[in-house]
Amino acid sequence: MAEHKYNVFVGSETGLLKGINIVRSSWDNLNSMEKADREKEICAMCWNNENESEICVGLKNQEIMIYDIPNKAFSGNFQFQGGKEKLKNVAKLNENIITAVDSGVVRVWKGDEITSEINAGQGLCKMAQDKSQANIIGTGGKENDLKIWDVNVPEKPIFHAKNVKNDWLNLRVPIWILDLEFFPGSKKVITCTGHHQVRVYDPSIPQRRPIMDIQFDEYPLTALSLRPNRDDQVIVSNTQGKMALMDLRKGQVVHIFKGFAGGIRDVQCHSSEPLVASCGLDRFLRIYDINTKQLMHKFYLKSRLNCLIFANKLSIEDEGQGEEKESGILKDSGEEQAYEADHGDEAVWNKLKVVQTKTIRKQKRQTYANETSVKVKRKTGEKEDSTERKKLKRNKKTNKSV
């Protein structure tokens, strides 16, 4: 195959952008080694367009480069003036680029011009964009609590979180948001903090304090990623190399992923497959299956890794055509699709099946009703028994008195 497709892109501390092909378990540096420079450390990445053919790469020296995947080249770059602050995040809004630096200045760029500027406050650590509403962004950082902004209204945030109540010693709880994400399809936001808390905020209700506050381990939580298609589970990771799947309904750890040696910098879930990728200071990219909790792939990428993005549009099956499929789950789904394509008439039969299940349900209902009636009878029987016992007791008492 002449064309080499990549499933995951990873930005490293040496300024190298790495493309990883999961199926072939191979990886390449996408920019040349001579340009590798710590001053050009990749701080943030996002997709430049909807069909995921270009990546927006934000560098430490306040430069943004666009990497064109089909042409395998950096197509454009522009220097944005952010002073000496460190770039924290980039995002895409229609044709514009949103940048956030750690002094809290969030700017929207149209080409080289600033269209709007938000001052989110000192110590910004993370800016995140709502995937369903691109003009909504959330910011947070050290002593800089969660704020949700509309990019078109830069003066005042839509939502401004309030710190939790003082602790049992009546001391103020410090704030340090390290990562945040919007729940898809709802206004809720989830954050993780440097003081190992995971918090959920709901701007749609009057309460400004978090509606949920969970703690995990003892070290700063650096990254989080919501499990796709399920808004009750989240994957968080910390600086000691612990990545955990947490349940937001119970507020408990479901599973701790094994195998990390160093702190994790970024965690991303695949939007359709049950995969989660993580990268960090131990120079490894690891990809786990969320359902089976198995380590699927592990790549040693030689540099400390800062950020990663999954190619969601490029499904893993497409890549694996004519080659060995990766996991049983993927294989099954692929087979099903092929099957449907071949046998169009099958749909009719499927419908019939649905009817059949209904009848089964009816039968079940009947049986259930029968059972319940029996239960009721039993209960009444018990009641009768108890009344009898009481009578007996009374008799005994009377006997005694006699």
Binding site: T14, A36, T222, T239, K302
Partner: protein, 318 residues
């Protein structure tokens, strides 16, 4: 045919008079049994020696054509494959290392200046050990901790141009930990320290001279090993004074780093004499942390997780 064969077999069995092998465990008298057992052991040993001698003789007789000696299998040479093993030709690692926090030392832009301190209220042994460490490392300064926080010491050390901070920790008055923090923003390593022997406890330890030592770093081959090796090299100045014949060794074997300090002498063209000088100790890596010392909020590059990582005896990280 089949029947005939059986018959012949039976005949053969009758012909061969088999003497059952003496089963020692059947002997019921304990004294006799143990005697028989010893006898058996002795014979086995004899046979073994005989066999070895025979092989030796054969090898000598064959001369150069003799098959090469078998290499003994050790847990080091059957080490589990590690993909982070650094290839010297690797461009990316070279680029990474050329720009890391220790690069200024290797580019000869900074001269190492080391601050040695201990835990709060150190024991006598720890104090003695620190004094010896001060003698070993050139341009090092020993300060009493005075109950200061490490995070408060670091800015002070920075203002006085220290390049490294060494902290010796102890437990029950025995030094058992070593923290090396490279300044200003270099990595911090935490070692477990064991087997500390002071110069006074060594037999025939030599007198120390003030020459700058040579450094030997052995077997730091993985990417992690490289980082640790570079940190240890950072403690000593460039340009050793060779006429001092002083040498400091950090020898890594099975993830234990052995520190030795010698003076060598070339006796003749073949023989080299070694005299041990300074203290002796062994280090084992616990954590490698990015940035200066911050155990709570710092990001760790590598953490030793005992039960998770130690899956095989033949797996090493340095």
């Amino acid at each position: 045919m089949a029947t005939r064969r059986n018959v012949t077999n039976e005949e053969e069995r009758e012909d061969v008079q088999t003497i059952p092998a003496p089963n020692i465990s059947r002997i019921k008298n304990k004294k006799l049994r143990s005697e028989a057992y010893r006898q058996m052991k002795r014979e086995k040993k004899k046979m073994k020696i005989k066999e070895r001698k025979r092989k030796q003789m054969e090898a000598e007789a064959m001369g150069d054509k003799a098959p090469p000696k078998k290499v003994q299998r050790t847990i080091e040479n059957t080490r589990v494959y590690d993909e982070t093993m650094v290839n010297p030709q690797d461009e990316e690692v070279a680029v990474d290392e050329a720009q890391d926090e220790m690069a200024s030392y290797f580019n000869r832009e900074t001269i190492p200046k080391i601050l040695i301190t201990t835990c709060d209220r150190p024991g006598q042994r720890t104090n003695k050990f620190c004094k010896e460490l001060k003698k070993v490392i050139p341009n090092s300064h020993l300060y009493y901790r005075r109950g200061l926080d490490l995070k408060k010491i670091i800015p002070q050390a920075l203002s006085r141009d220290f390049t490294d901070l060494l902290v010796v920790n102890e437990n029950r008055k025995i030094p058992n930990g070593l923290v090396i923090s490279h300044l200003p923003d270099g990595p911090t390593v935490h070692f477990k320290m064991s087997g500390v022997r002071l110069t006074t406890e060594l037999k025939r330890a030599g007198e120390l001279t003030g020459h700058q030592p040579e450094i030997i770093l052995n077997n730091f081959n993985t990417r992690l090993g490289h980082s640790v090796g570079r940190m240890l090299a950072c403690l000593f100045p460039h340009d050793p004074e060779f006429h001092g014949r002083r040498v400091v060794t950090f020898h890594n074997q099975r993830d234990f780093i052995f520190f030795r300090h010698h003076r060598y002498v070339f006796r003749n063209a073949k023989k080299v004499g070694l005299q041990e000088l300074g203290p002796r100790f062994t280090l084992k890596l616990r954590t490698l942390q990015k940035g200066s010392f911050d155990s709570k909020f710092g990001e760790y590059e590598w953490v030793h997780k005992r039960h998770e990582m130690e899956t095989s005896r033949r797996k090493f990280f340095l």
